[in-house]
Symmetry: C2
Subunit: 199 residues, 2 copies
C-alpha cells in the first residue's frame, strides 16, 4: 500500500485544513497516512525567522486569515477563529500526540485543531488538552504526565530535526517514501497522485 | 460579463504558470480577464524584503524550483528553467506590456514568460524583448522607444501603487470587482468561481 508522511504543526493554520481532510482523501485513494507532528518554530528560527511569516509580514498575514475563512467555509468547517495571540504554543499538544499510539493520533490531532481554530481555545493550556483527551476516552492525567517524559521530549526534538533534514520549511507537508516533498494543504491531491505513481 | 483583474510580475515564477493557463480557464467560464503587470520589487521592499523570499529563504527557494518543475510538467509546459541570476529584472518587459493595447498584452506576456522560463533568456535584455515583440508582428523599435516615455514609467508606478493598495504582497493575484483578493496560481479556479457568484 502506498504511504505518505503527513508532517504538521499544531499552531499552523493550513495544517488544520489539511488535517481535517487528509485521511478521507488518502483512504479513498488507498494511501496510508503517517501522522508526524513536529515543531515549526525551531525551523523558522534556523532560517532567521523569529515568528510566523504571518506576523513578520502583516499584509500577508491579513490575507492569510481571509484565505483561511474562505477555505474553511469551502471545506464545510465551522467559522475560522484566529487564536490570540497567534501562533499558539504547540509544544504540549505535539508531545501529547506522540504519547498516543499511531492509530490514536489522527483523531486527537483533529480534536486539538478543532479546539484551536473552530472554538478559539488555547491549546497551550493543559486543561484544554486534558479535556480533548478525556472527551476521546483517554486517561488525560496519564497522557499529560507522560508528555513530560524525557523520552517524549527527545522524540519530538528528533522528529523536528528529521523534518528539517527532509527539506521542510513550513507546514503542512506530505512526504513520499522516495523523499519527494509537497508543501501546503494545496498539494495534498498531488502528493496522493505521486505516491500512486501518477506523475 | 464577470471580470477578474490578473496582477502579475514578469520575474515571478508562479505568475508564469498562471499566465499560461488563466485565459483559457477564464474564457471557458465566461469571465473577462484584465491583464495588469506590476512590479513586486517595490512592494517587497516596503515590507523589508530586499530580494525574493526564494533567495532570502534558500530552503524554501529550492523547494519552489522543484515545485515549479513538477507543475510545469503537469501543465504540459516545456522543462522549467530558472533564470540566473534570479529574479530577472522585469522592468523593461512590464513597461513594454503597458505600451501595448489591452488586447495585445496577454499574448506578449505569455511570450515573455516563455522566453524567460522555458528558453532561459534574459528578459532584461532589450534585444530579447525586441525579438519577442517582432515575432508577434509589433514594431519592436517603436514599442521599446515608447517604453521609455515618462507616461509609461508613471503608469507602471501607478499600477504598482494600486496593487499595494489592494493588499497585494506577492504574485500572481486575481482580484474581483468587489475587491476580493486571491493570491497564487493555486487560487485561479477559486477566483473564477467567486466572480461567477459561487462562493
Amino acid at each position: 500500500m502506498a504511504k505518505l508522511d503527513f508532517w504538521y504543526d499544531f499552531a499552523s493554520t493550513y495544517s488544520y485544513l489539511a488535517a481535517m481532510r487528509a485521511e478521507a482523501l488518502a483512504k479513498a485513494a488507498g494511501v496510508t497516512l503517517r501522522w508526524r507532528p513536529f515543531l515549526l518554530g525551531p525551523i523558522f528560527k534556523s532560517h532567521g525567522l523569529e515568528t510566523s511569516p504571518f506576523n513578520k509580514y502583516p499584509v500577508k498575514g491579513r490575507y492569510s486569515w481571509r484565505d483561511m475563512e474562505r477555505l474553511a467555509a469551502r471545506q464545510g468547517l465551522p467559522k475560522f477563529l484566529l487564536p490570540v495571540p497567534f501562533p499558539a504554543n504547540p509544544l504540549l499538544a505535539a508531545r501529547a500526540a506522540l504519547v498516543l499510539a499511531d492509530a490514536e493520533r489522527p483523531e486527537f490531532s483533529r480534536a486539538v485543531y478543532r479546539a484551536e481554530f473552530a472554538e478559539g481555545r488555547d491549546i497551550a493550556d493543559r486543561a484544554v488538552i486534558g479535556e480533548v483527551l478525556a472527551a476521546l476516552g483517554h486517561d488525560a492525567d496519564a497522557v499529560l504526565t507522560k508528555s513530560g517524559d524525557p523520552a517524549i521530549k527527545d522524540k519530538l526534538r528528533a522528529e523536528t530535526e528529521e523534518a528539517a533534514k527532509q527539506g521542510i520549511f513550513g507546514a503542512p507537508n506530505f512526504v513520499a517514501e522516495d523523499g519527494e516533498l509537497f508543501w501546503g494543504n494545496d498539494r495534498l491531491e498531488q502528493a496522493i497522485e505521486w505516491v500512486r505513481g501518477h506523475r
